[in-house]
Symmetry: C2
């Protein structure tokens, strides 16, 4: 009943790809967006609602979960799927990114990273081997190699050293994954190299030697801007093998997703739909709305009257505005749900457009309609 | 299709009563507990989930809604039911209690209360007439007479003057209700008189002259303690007519509800299940649990494995403990849901026990099992 990891590419339209990823907990139609379940919860959402949006895979954060409640504890409680009541696929990151962005007093050595928890100041080690052990304890279907997230901006020299360290860690990750993982699970490698084409190409080559079943593009969405991000994709993605899924980590806005799918990316994750939801910002096909704005206080229309999503369909903007103004929990709950639904609907529309060989026209129409409003 | 307000008493068991209240938006089996939807939302819950718990009526707060988003605005958006996406009965309070407990710079005159909003300091008037107008703009099925919530403790003299003012306001409320209300809606009178039997009896007599279709016992659960509250019920409830529903406002704990049903009360409202839920305190038939407590960190059992409520059944206490510790929105969402479900289940069990003429035995069993744990 449990299937091994695989990727099937159905068709391409320009560089955009339509495929299916198979994992032990089910299949994922790609291009796919993964809502982020940081601390074993997609913030403000029931897993039922997440599933109702069409999401087929969630992301869990190794850094957060190793600190609270602890990977061994989750394992003893039956694994992350059971712990958070989600029986579809889960991808976990390696912890590398959050160690850099959240922890205090980091010390990076060849061995790994020693850091202090941002929660209680406790000391922890994270190495490729420990990251693999944790991800296997969590029981995630798709695991990520432990890497160093190269700071941005970085000189060519710094980026090169960082990428080479990540590639040595990728090999150690792969070896440790073979020891710790359960049948059918997969480990993805992560391409690093900052904004430098030669480094990105060398990174892809190093990962290809290890033969990961999927490859991620890392080190982007860290402040470099959309133009630079697309440039990096333009010179990196063509080097990635067509036979493996491609995951752009931590991205992004609807227009980021559109441009990255256009360049051949298959998978994404981002906290944006839920984080924006908690701030009263709603994504719609007409653009992003700040529901706190007084122009909504008497607006009887829902976010999307034709939606299958109750949060988009059953509540007026005036009501959402009221909830946001009052700081009500239900504001976060409804707008996060509506946003995750919007992201899934966007992915579904892109998948269909690729299948029907009209992705360029779809992208043009989407860009013409979608506006970011103040 | 819309039914007029009525109350049918099915049977009694001791002083406990089993009945049905009919309103324009549907029927309510009594004894009934009404979750509180303060600012047009039961905090942390979708209305779907509220309905799934078995709740048949919600309470809305006139004070909160008149300040934000405003009663006229809710009316122009189709009324409170539509605004908050709840098509079952709604009861609104008069605003009197919150004016006393929340607002600043109150001035009470024969005419009514002038006060400053606790939100923005703006000045407002609330009179019996304005309270009735607001409640009719909201479109609530059961409306409450505007009264003064007598402070506790109060001397007999202060309590008498306060009660007499409330009775004059009750008459003005009734007259205004006749002008503003829609067909089928009902206005309840509120018995005041603090802890004094003679005043409570005189208050009942005054309200009977106005002939309200339902009567509430007000001015309790304000710090007097359970013993005093039950004493007041003991000498007040026997004076209430059997033909009208009896509503004990702002009550209470599970043991409060049990003791009050035992004394002939039919309706309750309280923020306790949702407020406790937001603080990680879960009600179960074995008592109240503080989920933040470390003894739950490895507990794989759910709050109630046999429950029909997903929040009670599908998540381990270890998971709930983790969410509470992390301050996750989902902690508030799940524990509030579980608590409202528990309250409804308790009411359902009490209703069945009355029907089957075994309420005393039920109450004894419940008290033996239920514990309030530190």
């Amino acid at each position: 009943m449990m299937s091994d990891f695989s990727y099937q590419l159905h068709n391409v339209d320009g560089a955009a790809r339509r495929g299916t990823v198979t994992t032990p907990h089910g299949t994922i139609e790609t291009p796919a967006f993964m809502p982020v379940g940081t601390a074993a919860t997609v913030k403000g959402m029931f897993t039922d609602s997440v599933q109702q949006t069409g999401a087929e895979i969630l992301l869990g954060n190794t850094y957060h979960l190793m600190l609270r409640p602890g990977a061994e504890r989750i394992a003893s409680l039956g694994g992350l799927h059971r712990f958070m009541n989600w029986d579809k696929p889960i991808l976990t990151d390696s912890g590398g990114f959050q160690v850099m962005s959240l922890s205090k007093l980091r010390k990076i050595t060849e061995e790994g990273v020693r850091f202090q928890s941002h929660i209680d100041g406790g000391s922890y080690n994270l190495t490729p081997e420990r990251s693999m052990e944790i991800q296997s304890l969590l029981g995630s279907d798709i695991q990520m190699a432990f890497d160093e997230c190269t700071p941005h901006p970085a000189t060519h020299e710094v980026a090169e050293q960082s990428m080479e360290l990540s590639m040595r860690w990728a090999k150690r990750s792969s070896d440790a994954f073979d020891r710790y993982s359960a049948p059918g699970q997969a480990l993805f490698g992560i391409v690093q190299g900052s904004v430098y084409e030669d480094l990105r190409v060398r990174s892809v080559e190093a990962l290809m030697e290890i033969d990961f079943p999927g490859l991620a593009v890392g080190g982007l969405a860290v402040g470099e801007g959309q133009d630079v991000m697309f440039d990096v994709l333009d010179f990196t993605v063509p080097h990635l093998p067509a036979s493996k899924p491609r995951y752009l980590m931590g991205v992004g806005t609807p227009l980021d997703l559109l441009g990255a799918v256009e360049r051949g990316i298959d998978m994404f994750d981002c906290v944006m739909p839920t984080r924006s939801g908690r701030h009263g910002q709603a994504f719609t096909f007409d653009g992003k709305l700040n529901l706190k704005n007084a122009r909504f206080k008497d607006d009887p229309t829902p976010l999307d009257e034709h939606s299958t999503c109750p949060a988009c369909r059953d509540y007026s903007k005036a009501y959402l505005h009221h909830l946001v103004r009052c700081g009500e929990l239900l504001a976060s709950m409804l707008v996060s749900w509506a946003n995750v639904h919007f992201y899934q609907e966007l992915m579904g529309q892109m998948r269909l457009a690729i299948e029907e060989q009209r992705f360029a026209a779809y992208a043009k129409d989407f860009r013409a309609r979608y506006q970011v409003k103040p």
